[in-house]
């Protein structure tokens, strides 16, 4: 059924800490590794050994550079992006077959690979680019919130968490029930000001992102400037000697001063 269920009290999802994520790709690779053999598997690549290898990943890590106002230096934010298990996802309602569905009991959004016809409409309806088509099987694929781990009693209790959460070396990924206001993840979201991606789209994502913390050291990292020329005879002598010795082109010699702060060439 691709009509949405009445929102469940339980809303399983992830909380991703953009402050501690180091962009190591451990979550992405362990996700691919687990899902290649789990519920979504085989998650095969096209041309796996070749130059143009391509295939579905449920989790991808973007790197963003953020230039804060009034600062010369910027910071790098690693940004993992996977399905947000939205509460009102059009990726479910547009599906003509019922293959794309949201579970009534815990809110996980899944695709049934046995009934999906590969029309790709759901991937168009997702604002977050979370759905990737599996060209080898002709069906759509996406993050399962590791439904085949979190309820899997064959695994040790500490392994009954999503593969990506388990793999993260810095603890930047948290899994839990975001419908329960007293759960660890909900408290974390509250404490750190967790936010929704593209809230104006109205999909009501379950997953939350924790913003990078404010810099502890508010002093600007100093970008060293090259010393300015004082135009003295001594300096002109050095410039002349430098030109002679390094056999630089005339154009370089014509611009002996560089106070742009940039080092070139």
């Amino acid at each position: 059924m691709t009509s949405l269920p009445t929102p469940s009290a339980k809303k399983l999802g992830l909380v991703i800490d953009l402050d501690t994520c180091v962009g190591c790709q451990a979550c992405a690779t362990s996700c691919k590794e687990w899902n290649a053999q789990g519920d979504s598997g085989p998650l095969t690549d096209t041309d796996p050994q070749g130059k143009n290898v391509t295939g579905p990943w449920f989790n991808r890590i973007h790197g963003y550079e953020v230039k804060e106002q009034g600062r010369d230096d910027s910071r790098i934010v690693n940004f993992p992006r996977s399905c947000l298990h939205c509460e009102e996802p059009a990726c479910v309602t547009v599906c003509p077959t019922g293959a794309s569905y949201k579970r009534a009991e815990d809110g996980i959004v899944l695709i049934n690979p046995d009934t999906c016809i590969g029309c790709k409409l759901c991937s168009w309806a997702c604002p977050y680019g979370a759905r990737e088509y599996d060209y080898t099987q002709g069906v759509m694929k996406k993050c399962t919130l590791c439904v085949d781990r979190i309820y899997n009693t064959n695994l040790e209790p500490e392994d009954q968490v999503p593969a990506c959460v388990k793999a993260c070396p810095t603890g930047a990924r948290h899994f839990g029930d975001l419908g329960d206001t007293s759960s660890d993840v909900s408290l974390l979201v509250k404490e750190r000001g967790g936010y929704d991606l593209l809230p104006e789209m109205g999909y009501k994502p379950t997953n939350k992102y924790l913003p990078p913390r404010a810099r502890r050291n508010t002093e600007q990292a100093h970008i060293e400037k090259l010393p300015k020329s004082d135009g003295s005879t001594m300096e002109k002598l050095f410039l002349w000697a430098d030109k002679l010795l390094s056999n630089k082109s005339a154009s370089a010699a014509a611009n002996p001063q560089d106070d742009s702060g940039k080092l070139e060439g």
Binding site: V66, W124, M140
Partner: protein, 307 residues
């Protein structure tokens, strides 16, 4: 968006087929039985063939065409499903209408109600096709109230040109058909023109800053892949946007040319045959642009500053 040929063929061919079918049905509803069986059979055959080619082509786009029947199940929520259901319902109604209209079944009283019903179902089906796209909030150029009227206008324009050409072959050409085609072509041109102005002037309200939550001054520094990925392939199409201006002129040129040919056909009826290819080119390029020009909001995560 990647302009897949199977989807362009699906929307243009089935649009033309439904346009033609609806006009034949309306003609039957108002004039009663067709003048000759040959005219009725040929015209209905062309309409249903175009529709079928379109629908088959849409299944070519599927990863699992053999499961296509499943797409009829979710009509409660999905416009794609509704489109499929409407298309399937239209077949038997159109065939029953055809049987009465051609005189194969002698039931003159049924021609009018069946004719109106067929035309109504054609309209509904094309509306559903437009809705598949216009219901996607993720694509600004499609989330637009003009999309469905444009789908219907182009279906009627291509259908009307075909009607005139087929009628001409059977010596049934009347000036009213040319006028109808001209009106539909003008409607298509005007709607499309307003649509382009609207999408060009629309505010790009989604920004990378807001999407990532990282504020102004955010830019992509590292991409999340080492080779082509599905999202880039499907949603990162830029060729269309680069040539959009020129191609819009191509659409308008062929629409005008079709209009002119239909106008002149009131004197030289054989010109209706030339209007068929010119109108087909207009519809094809228009549909190609509809996909190629559309930008998906996911681009914000892939380095686009606004969408």
């Amino acid at each position: 968006m990647n302009p897949a040929y199977s989807v362009i063929l699906f929307t243009t061919a089935s649009g033309a087929g439904y346009g033609l079918l609806s006009l034949l049905a309306l003609a039957g509803a108002s004039h009663g039985r067709a003048s000759t069986q040959a005219f009725a059979f040929t015209s209905l055959f062309i309409a249903l063939t175009l529709i079928t080619i379109g629908l088959l082509s849409s299944t070519l786009h599927l990863g699992r065409p053999e499961r296509a029947w499943r797409a009829l199940s979710q009509w409660r929520s999905s416009w794609l499903s509704r489109e499929g259901v409407a298309a399937i319902i239209t077949y038997p109604i159109a065939i029953t209408f055809g049987a009465c209209w051609s005189g194969l079944v002698d039931a003159p009283a049924l021609i009018a109600p069946l004719g109106y019903f067929t035309a109504f179902m054609c309209l509904i089906t094309v509306f559903c096709t437009g809705k598949i796209y216009s219901s996607l909030k993720t694509i600004r150029a499609w989330d637009n109230p003009l999309v469905c009227p444009i789908y219907i206008a182009f279906a009627l324009a291509t259908g009307a040109v075909l009607t005139a050409a087929i009628a001409n072959t059977f010596g049934r050409f009347v000036i009213f058909q040319a006028i109808l085609a001209m009106v539909a072509i003008v409607a298509s041109s005007v709607l499309k023109f307003i649509y382009w102005r609207k999408i060009d002037n629309a505010k790009r309200s989604h920004t990378m800053a807001a999407a990532t939550g990282l504020g102004e001054g955010v830019r992509q520094w590292e991409v999340p892949h080492t080779s082509m990925n599905f999202i880039m392939k499907e949603m990162g199409y830029v060729v269309g946007r680069r040539h959009a201006r020129k191609l819009r002129l191509v659409v308008l040129f062929f629409l005008n040319l079709s209009f002119l040919l239909m106008y002149l056909s009131t004197n030289w009826q054989w010109l209706t045959y030339f209007a068929v290819p010119t109108m087909a080119i207009a519809a094809w390029v228009e549909r190609w642009l509809f996909f190629a020009e559309a930008e998906h909001v996911v681009g914000l995560f892939y380095g686009k500053q606004s969408a």
